[in-house]
């Protein structure tokens, strides 16, 4: 026969302060654990949703980011005319030859310098990334010294109001409008006409990358094989756009995860010790109670279960509290230099079902770890000694 849950519940309530302190401890640990997982998920989500499954990006072989990649104009022309590349309504391939550099702008409030990614694009770039839409001002005109800036840059950096001038390379550019890109990496970029930007950057005939839309997702292997086989495109390397962005997020997400896990595992020790202390005290205080229950006919197993359930309940409530606290962080957006691309990236804390599952699982694990030995002690008390103790 098992001990009713109401007994467990009332036992926790009887020692409110100790219970509350243990709860807060566990909630803090789960809070840190969950928010770190949410942050890592946020970085990945931001970058992965920047890529479209039907798009491919071509960089120079060995280049790990667009910033250090070089594709010559001749090579870009060969790449764009592959048969697998989708053709737009105007009969031109849906491909954007792009040039990428970073410029320094000062953050609002702190004067800290941020690395802003400037992307020179072809007109097709907007067909390739339909999530980009203007929210203020107007579109830059191709062939002019104008740029549009992502919403994150507009919100966080000085001198980026519409109409102000930004120096890019050797020339000044006017901010014509602000765009929003569905919380992807593009939100942290500045876009202008590639043919206009290249001379300003002193790179007349070298692009950074080519992004192209395929006729179908399945054409990926075909285009990869074709480019690898063509002797004129030997220095190019084709990747799915999503894969490229996943790689860009890798270092950052891994760093957050590894550091976060190390920290939370150490934290968990602290919280488990808190729970062990609480549960040992619970057992010591209730020795007579335990003896009475045993005398009434409850078995050792039932006692063990009751105490273990008490501990798990305690940590589960703490875990849910921590998770609720952590979910509040999803309103915060962080903007910092991404290690992978060496440029500013804004991302948020993203709650996913996986994060919830891991956090609650982690809490239950702490409950079991903290409650096991005290429960065993409770179960092993002999009836006589327990009843005799005062």
């Amino acid at each position: 026969m098992s001990i009713p849950l109401s007994y467990t519940w009332r036992s926790l309530w009887a020692r409110r302060i100790t219970t509350a302190l243990t709860l807060i401890g566990i909630a803090l640990v789960v809070f840190v654990f969950a928010s770190i997982l949410m942050l890592a998920t946020g970085v990945e989500r931001t970058l992965v949703t920047s890529g479209d499954p039907q798009n491919v990006i071509i960089l120079r072989r060995a280049a790990t980011s667009e910033l250090v990649s070089q594709i010559s104009r001749d090579e870009a022309n060969i790449l764009k005319t592959q048969p697998q590349v989708a053709v737009g309504a105007d009969g031109k391939p849906v491909a954007s030859t792009e040039t990428v550099v970073i410029i320094n702008l000062a953050k609002i409030g702190t004067n800290d310098m941020g690395n802003i990614l400037v992307r020179g694009v072809s007109p097709e770039a907007f067909a390739l990334r339909p999530q980009v839409r203007l929210t203020g001002g107007r579109m830059f005109s191709f062939g002019s010294d104008e740029v549009i800036i992502g919403s994150n840059v507009a919100e966080r950096f000085q001198g980026t109001d519409i109409g102000s001038r930004i120096r890019i390379g050797e020339d000044q550019y006017t901010v014509a409008g602000v765009f929003e890109a569905g919380r992807t990496a593009f939100d942290s970029e500045v876009w202008g006409d590639v043919e206009q930007l290249m001379p300003s950057l002193g790179r007349q005939s070298v692009f950074s990358s080519v992004t192209m839309r395929l006729n179908a997702e399945g054409d990926y292997q075909a285009i990869k094989d074709a480019i690898n086989a063509d002797p004129r495109t030997q220095s190019s390397d084709v990747k799915r756009e999503q894969q490229y962005y996943r790689e860009q997020s890798q270092t950052m997400a891994d760093f957050i995860r590894v550091l976060g896990l190390v920290v939370t595992v150490i934290f968990a020790f602290g919280a488990v010790i808190g729970a062990v202390i609480t549960m040992y005290a619970a057992v010591a205080n209730r020795t007579v109670e335990i003896g009475t229950m045993r005398a009434l006919g409850f078995r050792r197993g039932s006692i063990l279960n009751a105490f273990l359930i008490e501990s798990i309940l305690l940590s589960l409530i703490g875990g849910i509290g921590g998770l609720v606290l952590a979910s509040l962080t999803s309103f915060i957006r962080i903007s910092t230099t991404n290690f992978g691309s060496f440029s500013e990236l804004a991302f948020g804390f993203t709650l996913s079902p996986q994060v919830i599952l891991y956090s609650l699982g982690f809490a239950v694990l702490m409950g079991i770890a903290g409650g096991f030995f005290p429960s065993v002690r409770a179960a092993r008390l002999s009836i006589l000694n327990a009843l005799r103790s005062s």
């Binding site: 302060i17 100790t18 060995a62 990649s69 550099v101 800290d112 310098m113 890019i168 010790i273």
Partner: protein
């Protein structure tokens, strides 16, 4: 003396509980020290910068090159002593996905670079060998240990910013003059880079990344910066000149969000220390409510009770804190061993230790507050009636 004895006896009554509490605090203090060390290591470059060095780079961002021709013009600015320059080479060594294989590779002016950085010590015979060979390089002591580079080894690098296959022969290994010097870099001849650029991509020849120069008087630095930047204000490549410290600081502040979150986490750790300790002290004080009443009946003043509770809390907090510091050293050393090039310098700073102990003691005082107030407020009769 009597109170001290009672505190010791009290702490020993629940040996397991006291031991667990000390362990809990020790672990929290250890992670506190570890996190603070990471924060310190992040800004090591700022600490390691020399007071009399300045850096000039392109005003738009440091990825844009400056013409080498600026060197002689900057050298003529009054107050500038010695000048050198460097280029970020980048490139891919082995598998780029493994962070271990990322280390700074700089093309430097072989003749002058080590004059401007006297903290990098190269044995004279190795330096002579390095100077003689165009594709020679010098690597840091820490880097050479990490990858097993020996004199005469060839380091193959696939270029990204400077495309092509590159090979560098190790001709020297430098050591840092003091523990704050970065021993994870690789330096090679800028002339080697420039020769290949002249042949392969002529437009990129004669370009350098940034100038480093020493000034005679650190007080004159703002004036020197202004003079240099004014010289190029209207040229195609403007400069931004700042002290080495500011230059390094601008890199650190790029990741300011990460540093602030690490700092936030270390605050949460303080919270955890407090909770573990408060839990134990509240619990013990509650169990002893009757004893405190007895003590008061016997004529002990409330001050004694405060001393008993507070003293036990301070003792446990201090023991946990000291144990945590002792544990922190092997953990920091193990991390430094496992990722030698992750942070160029990874040491526990003395003030981190002081801070950690201070935090543990502060937590001990706060943890004792509530039970102390309770013990003071409760009347003797009430205390005696309590069943703990």
């Amino acid at each position: 003396m009597f109170v001290l004895k009672l505190i010791l006896k009290n702490a020993g009554r629940h040996k397991l509980r006291t031991a667990l509490t000390i362990l809990g605090i020790a672990i929290a203090v250890m992670s506190f020290v570890f996190l603070r060390t990471i924060v310190t290591a992040w800004s090591y470059g700022v600490e390691a910068s020399a007071a009399n060095r300045m850096i000039s780079r392109h005003s738009v961002s440091f990825i844009f090159p400056l013409p080498l021709a600026y060197r002689d013009q900057i050298a003529r600015v009054p107050g500038v002593e010695a000048i050198s320059f460097a280029n970020w080479f980048g490139g891919v060594f082995k598998d780029p996905a493994d962070f271990k294989n990322f280390f700074p590779r700089l093309a430097v002016d072989a003749e002058t670079y080590f004059d401007v950085y006297p903290e990098y010590l190269v044995p004279p015979d190795q330096m002579a060998e390095f100077q003689k060979e165009r594709n020679a390089c010098i690597v840091g002591e820490k880097l050479s240990r990490e990858h097993g580079f020996k004199i005469g080894d060839i380091i193959p690098v696939e270029g990204d910013i400077y495309p092509g296959q590159w090979e560098f022969v190790v001709r020297g290994i430098y050591k840092g003059k003091d523990p704050t010097a970065d021993e994870t870099q690789m330096f090679f001849h800028w002339k080697y880079l420039d020769e290949r650029m002249t042949q392969e991509e002529n437009g990129r020849a004669g370009a350098i990344g940034w100038f480093i120069f020493r000034v005679t008087d650190p007080a004159a630095m703002p004036a020197v910066a202004r003079t240099v930047d004014d010289q190029y204000r209207n040229s195609r490549a403007g400069t931004k000149t700042e002290t080495e410290r500011e230059f390094q600081q601008s890199f650190v502040s790029m990741s300011s969000a990460i540093i602030s979150s690490l700092e936030a986490i270390s605050l949460v750790i303080i919270g955890i220390i407090l909770l573990v300790l408060a839990n134990t002290i509240v619990m013990s004080a509650r169990e002893r409510t009757r004893e405190y009443a007895v003590l008061k009946t016997l004529g002990f003043s409330p001050g004694h009770v405060v001393g008993l509770i507070g003293g036990e809390s301070l003792m446990i907090g201090l023991l946990g804190g000291v144990l945590g510091l002792i544990l922190a050293y092997p953990v920091v050393a193990a991390f430094a061993q496992a990722f030698p090039t992750f942070f160029p310098v990874f040491n526990v700073a003395p003030w981190t230790l002081a801070l950690a102990v201070g935090v543990a003691l502060l937590a001990a005082i706060v943890a004792a507050l509530f039970p102390v107030f309770r013990a003071l407020r409760i009347s003797i009769a009430e205390g005696l009636r309590t069943i703990g």
